[in-house]
């Protein structure tokens, strides 16, 4: 099986002086998969990516690319391509020379390099821009050149460091699909760093959530969404973020009392330990407004924001319970409404360790 693993990290550690940036990272990336590293800023996701590229050295553990230990291998011998957040196009070279830079270093004959670059340019819509300088291109075009520069090398691994964060929202959505389509077409292995969980969820086969240098949870996007291992992952994955309400399980462990007005009780899908303080996690999109009295609780509506297709309701004492409605309701601020939820969709977390219960 190991020959199917493109990248394998075992117990990888990284210290910057006294700062422990990566802690015991274990990660296996199969050939051809699209892996997203996601987390808040400063969580170590970029450091991890730069370590795979060889731009940072690791201080402990083993890093393998196609079964070869690369701990001390310089970037140029790792056969990985990287797309930078700032694109890092060589400003003194035309687009064509940016594209052929790596080929020229590999001593590819000039005509052949030119032909390869033109082919790549054609696939990503750059063919008319080859004789321009990067400063003469728009943000989206620069982004494409950065992609093309990576593609033309046919590397073992593509590394993306927040490549879409400098684009405007609509272009970002478009490029998201395009990068994923490109990945599928090339059959390449990709590692993609982003702070945007939507990018991670929509593009990746495998999502790795990092927090303070530790892998908090990894798995398929929907697994992370359905079965978050901790309160942190639950709050990070999904938009808008999950609602957290303190509560306490009842004597038989089949229901939980919420610390809200009137101590409403919610049934649980599967029993939990009895008489235990917990944090109850309810996804905004799993809450519905129900007039009937099945597994529901009453809250006061404080804020109503409608985008036309979707209505966001902020409810509760501090308007911190978010509800997403896809249909329009005749509600107004100050109303008391009943929120209902499927018992199987109630998440419980330990208030101290924050682990899922």
């Amino acid at each position: 099986m190991t020959q199917n693993l493109q990248i394998e990290l075992t117990g990888v550690d990284k210290h910057y002086g006294g700062f422990h940036a990566l802690k015991d990272i274990n990660l296996s990336i199969p050939n051809g998969s699209f892996v997203a590293l996601v987390g808040p800023s400063g969580c170590g996701k970029s450091t991890l990516l730069r370590s795979i590229a060889g731009l940072e050295s690791i201080t402990g553990g083993v890093m393998k690319i196609t079964d070869e230990v690369v701990n001390d291998m310089p970037p140029r011998r790792r056969d990985v391509a990287m797309v930078f957040q700032s694109y890092a196009l060589y400003p003194h070279m035309k687009v064509i020379d940016n594209l052929t830079y790596s080929l020229r270093l590999k001593k590819t004959p000039k005509a052949q390099a030119r032909k390869m670059a033109e082919e790549v340019a054609a696939t990503i819509g750059l063919e008319t821009l080859l004789d321009r300088y990067p400063r003469e291109l728009s943000g989206g075009q620069r982004q494409r050149v950065a992609m093309g520069r990576a593609i033309v090398r046919r590397p073992k691994v593509f590394l993306f460091d927040e490549p879409l964060s400098n684009l405007d929202a609509s272009l970002r959505v478009h490029m998201r699909k395009e990068i994923r389509a490109l990945h599928d077409r090339l059959g390449a292995t990709s590692v993609y760093v982003t702070h945007d969980q939507i990018e991670a969820m929509t593009m990746a086969d495998h999502v790795v959530v990092l927090r303070a240098g530790v892998i908090e949870q990894q798995g398929a996007p929907l697994d992370l969404y359905d079965r978050p291992a901790s309160k942190f992952v639950a709050g990070f994955i999904g938009s808008p973020a999950m609602n957290f309400i303190p509560g306490r399980t009842n004597g038989d462990g089949t229901s939980v009392d919420l610390a809200l007005d009137g101590q409403p009780t919610l049934r649980l899908g599967r029993p939990a330990a009895a008489n235990q303080d917990v944090i109850v996690g309810l996804r905004p999109e799993h809450l519905s407004m129900a007039s009937t009295g099945d597994n529901n609780f009453a809250v006061r509506v404080g804020v109503i924001e409608s985008t036309g297709s979707t209505t966001y309701v902020g409810a509760g004492d501090r308007n911190d319970i978010t509800v997403v409605l896809s249909d329009r309701r005749n509600i107004s601020v100050g109303d008391r409404v009943q929120l209902a939820i499927d018992p199987d969709k109630v998440h419980l977390f330990d208030p101290i360790t924050e682990a899922a219960l």
Partner: protein
């Protein structure tokens, strides 16, 4: 209102420039005046009888070709040595950040503070011990290089710092070595700053006096600055000839500066890339 203020500032700037440039004008004018006109009172601001032949005459009698050649040798040697050694130094100081680098920067700036007249004695003794005084022009090149290096390093370091580190990293990932990335990406982008700084060093070395005067005893190896000094004896009255000498010495540098000034200012102020 602001328009009038702007005019006022412009007028002030022109007045200051005139005051500042007056000695230069006086040099050129005195050079072509006749001996009696120089000492006439009140002084004439425009020469009544310009003596154009004075330049060729001075070039001939003072053997200026040799002096200028020596100045060129010293200035070129210094520029090449400073640029070769200083560029690498500036690059390292720009790319790494830690306590040792800060100490190195501090020491570099300290060197800049020490005046040449203070350094010349220990240098002379040291060079003498090493036998370098047998190659006096080379010895002067070494001394001026040491003097000019901090200025160059500080300027070029700023240029390198304006080149984003990500460009270099992109080159590394694209398959280049550190040195290769420096040559093919960093240096081309910092080229303007390096060239301009090198030209400034050349100009500084071309006018260097203290080290040349002390270290070069042989007249045939002395640069134009020392030659000019020797021209001005205690009882000299040949002001027109001396000013002609000075004009010949300074005009090429002045012309070069005027021609290049736009690039020099751009190279010093811009980050060399946008």
């Amino acid at each position: 209102m602001t328009r009038n203020m702007n005019r006022l500032y412009l007028a002030l700037a022109i007045i200051f420039a005139l005051v500042y440039l007056f000695p230069l004008y006086w040099m050129y004018v005195t050079a072509i005046k006749s001996g009696s006109e120089i000492f006439s009172y009140p002084p004439t601001f425009v020469p009544t009888d310009p003596q154009w032949g004075v330049f060729a005459h001075v070039w001939e009698i003072r053997d200026m070709g040799r002096f200028i050649w020596n100045s060129l040798v010293i200035a070129t040697g210094t520029m090449v040595l400073v640029a070769t050694l200083g560029t690498g130094c500036a690059y390292v100081l720009a790319r790494y950040r830690n306590g040792w680098i800060n100490l190195a920067l501090f020491l570099v700036l300290m060197l800049q503070v020490l005046p040449a007249s203070l350094m010349v004695t220990p240098l002379f003794v040291g060079f003498s011990a090493l036998g370098l005084l047998d190659y006096p022009r080379f010895a002067v090149i070494l001394a001026v290089t040491a003097k000019a290096m901090p200025f160059f390093v500080i300027l070029v370091r700023a240029t390198f710092m304006a080149v984003p580190a990500e460009l270099e990293e992109a080159a590394l990932v694209d398959g280049n070595s550190r040195i290769g990335a420096f040559w093919s990406v960093v240096l081309p982008l910092a080229r303007n700053g390096v060239l301009v700084s090198a030209i400034l060093i050349f100009m500084q070395a071309f006018g260097e006096f203290v080290y040349s005067k002390s270290i070069i005893q042989d007249v045939s190896l002395q640069p134009a600055s020392v030659g000019l000094n020797a021209f001005m004896g205690p009882n000299t009255v040949e002001w027109n000839n001396i000013m002609a000498y000075a004009s010949i010495y300074v005009t090429p540098i002045l012309a070069a500066f005027v021609l290049l000034q736009q690039r020099i200012v751009a190279g010093l102020t811009s980050g060399a890339l946008k």
